[in-house]
Symmetry: C2
């Protein structure tokens, strides 16, 4: 069986930064991405931030010849931005939306309005006479806006946990699992360690026999003409936040032969494909005689440490969310009290009970409008933070369950 | 291997109708449910509509002795209402929220405000020396309020489809899959046929060797003192909407030995457990020599018909959603136009351009407020229906993909 024909799988992953009306030179870049994909002939193309279905349709028309199978993951109002192009038939798709994704009132960050999700699909590839199921996922986690004081860390950890759980639950019978996407996390961050440790996924960059591209495999680099240089001041080389992760289950073996990233504008072009660099991996998949078994890459005591670290961060987020739920609830209550007081005063005035100087009518009305506004806003916030508390609590509990399991195991 | 020890698994499923402040005699019923579960000693208990975490905590304390493992699926503002009690260790849990669940403005139905979901868990049971993975799901779909003109049918079909896809994607490596819950669908409805056909799940009621309980296995019956008799006028025996479904994958075999339903108040009690009857199944699980393979219970041409029927209903829903998206968009646009006209008139008045009879100020202000209100409401509705169109479209597309696959298969 060792002599079984091997499959060389070429995977392309890119955060396309294609926001209508906002992203610079979007249509031109989508056209360039399409041209390059046609020439390069990958097996699987995982794209993120294709927010407009028109862009997807344009790509689909252009790529129909080389990638006959594709799927756009629709969700939410704006969409998930995820799509997949494949040389292999897509058998089945499933989209999982993360339960937490930032705050609706952080309008300047806007993550809440996109439905950040993981899209999964089953593809089938004929390996001479054997079949291998592939489960490529394309996804994106909440962005990090300030590394020093990262208010979104608990949400990103909940997303990393849900992503890991989703992969564990959906990939049990897959031969090969592939995950490509913009994780918005540095390689040493707790979220990445949690995701890799709990799923057993391997990092193509770390495993690659041959690497070519930006130094340290960075995918968000200051040399790119679309990146904000000030954001990257602490990281002169840039950061690596786009990944291709993989693992083989059952009796398959995967090795990363080569990993490449783009390095700014391609030869003959004056514009890079996106504000992120693309990641391209060549994987070598072979059937092996002995089933490898579902092993975790991280040793269990180390994994327990990672889960403990993540759980601590989630607990910090939980306490903050509880405080915000409490303050918004109190604010709503105060606004309600003010309204009631005003109602009593108004009724008193109607009944002719007020004897002193009456409150000016205009201010009275304005105050009532203000109270109603605050009541509505604070109630909305209270409901939102109630939900946030629920999801953080639930994640913390699940992590605790895993810790018990890891400690109990002989 | 035929002589392998068999496992007799007793499963309990109940929609508890435990809404704080709204459900009649809630606390008393929760106490009774707890007492009965303690006495009966099931292996797995799947509960729905336990909306309050206090009720879950009460049950957990009471059932700690007989069911040492339990999980409450937290989600959304109100919650999922789902919980599981188990004699076997719960290894892992995952919650999937359906993407569509009714309309926020249908306040009287309220489904939108609960986060209807499917909760899944992995449990492990030592079968003498063999291990069997169980995947019990507990879930609830959108309620049916009017069978003659069922406005929620497309949403329920999307939920049934997502539930089926979730089961297909998460259960591939499970030995036994169990699904218990209130599906809000009659046994012959297209949604049930779709779910069963596409997942291969078997209906415990149809397969049971021995049955005891309400006639035709009904679980929502006019005899129950909490049900609204007028709702059940067309169905004098009641309806069967609560199910226990199962299937064995890999080399296990499951048979339903016995199915029971409760029949109103238990002896010595003056109140039934809920407005639904409970479903109790005794399953016989045995390892078998030959792997059965993942077979669908419904023959493929029949399955293709069911998927086509479901797709037609989803298309009808899609067209309705597109119409609603269009009208709400037009309404928002008209409100915006009115506001702009008013702004022009106000600016004109300020510049001293109006010569004729001025518009009364109070009416002018009231009209502006009305226009703002309509603009906000219509925009909200437009965004909601945009999302609805996206999800219906996506489901329709997935069903189309499955139809192609079914037709292409030799």
């Amino acid at each position: 069986m060792e002599g079984d024909p091997a499959l060389r799988l070429r995977v392309f992953d890119l955060n396309c930064w294609a926001i209508r009306y906002l992203s610079k030179r979007r249509q031109e870049r989508i056209r360039l991405i399409g041209d390059m994909l046609c020439q390069e002939d990958f097996d699987l193309v995982l794209l993120q931030e294709v927010w407009s279905e028109w862009d997807y349709s344009d790509l689909k028309v252009k790529l129909g010849g080389c990638y006959p199978f594709s799927h756009y993951f629709r969700s939410g109002v704006i969409g998930s931005g995820l799509c997949v192009f494949s040389r292999f038939p897509i058998l089945d798709t499933l989209l999982y939306q993360y339960s937490l994704n930032g705050y609706p009132y952080m309008l300047q960050h806007g993550d809440w309005f996109c439905s950040k999700s993981v899209g999964s699909m089953g593809a089938r590839q004929v390996l001479a006479w054997e079949l291998a199921s592939l489960l490529p996922c394309s996804h994106q986690l909440h962005a990090e806006y300030c590394r020093q004081k990262d208010a979104y860390l608990p949400h990103r950890l909940v997303q990393a946990w849900e992503l890991a759980q989703f992969i564990r639950h959906t990939s049990k019978a897959a031969d090969v699992v592939l995950l490509g996407g913009d994780l918005n996390m540095h390689p040493e961050d707790v979220g990445i360690r949690l995701l890799r440790g709990w799923t057993g996924l391997r990092d193509a960059f770390a495993e690659a026999t041959h690497f070519e591209g930006c130094e340290d495999g960075c995918t968000f680099v200051p040399n790119n003409c679309f990146t904000d240089k000030s954001e990257l001041l602490p990281f002169p080389l840039g950061i690596r936040i786009d990944y291709i992760l993989y693992k083989a289950i059952s009796n398959f073996m995967v090795k990363c032969e080569e990993l490449k990233t783009t390095t700014g504008a391609a030869p003959g072009m004056d514009v890079p494909f996106s504000d992120h660099e693309a990641v391209m991996a060549t994987l070598h998949i072979q059937r092996q005689r002995q089933a490898a078994g579902a092993t975790l890459t991280t040793a269990e005591p180390v994994l327990a440490d990672v889960v403990t670290e993540a759980r601590t961060e989630v607990s910090v987020g939980l306490r903050a969310a509880q405080r915000q739920r409490y303050s918004s609830g109190r604010m709503a209550l105060l606004a309600l009290l003010l309204l009631l007081l005003q109602a009593v005063a108004a009724l008193g005035a109607l009944a002719g009970l007020d004897t002193g100087q009456p409150f000016p009518k205009l201010s009275f009305c304005l105050l009532a409008f203000l109270a109603i506004g605050i009541l509505l806003l604070a109630t909305g916030l209270h409901l939102f933070h109630t939900m946030e508390v629920k999801m953080l609590h639930s994640t913390e509990e699940q992590m605790q369950m895993v810790l018990w399991m890891l400690q109990e195991r002989p």
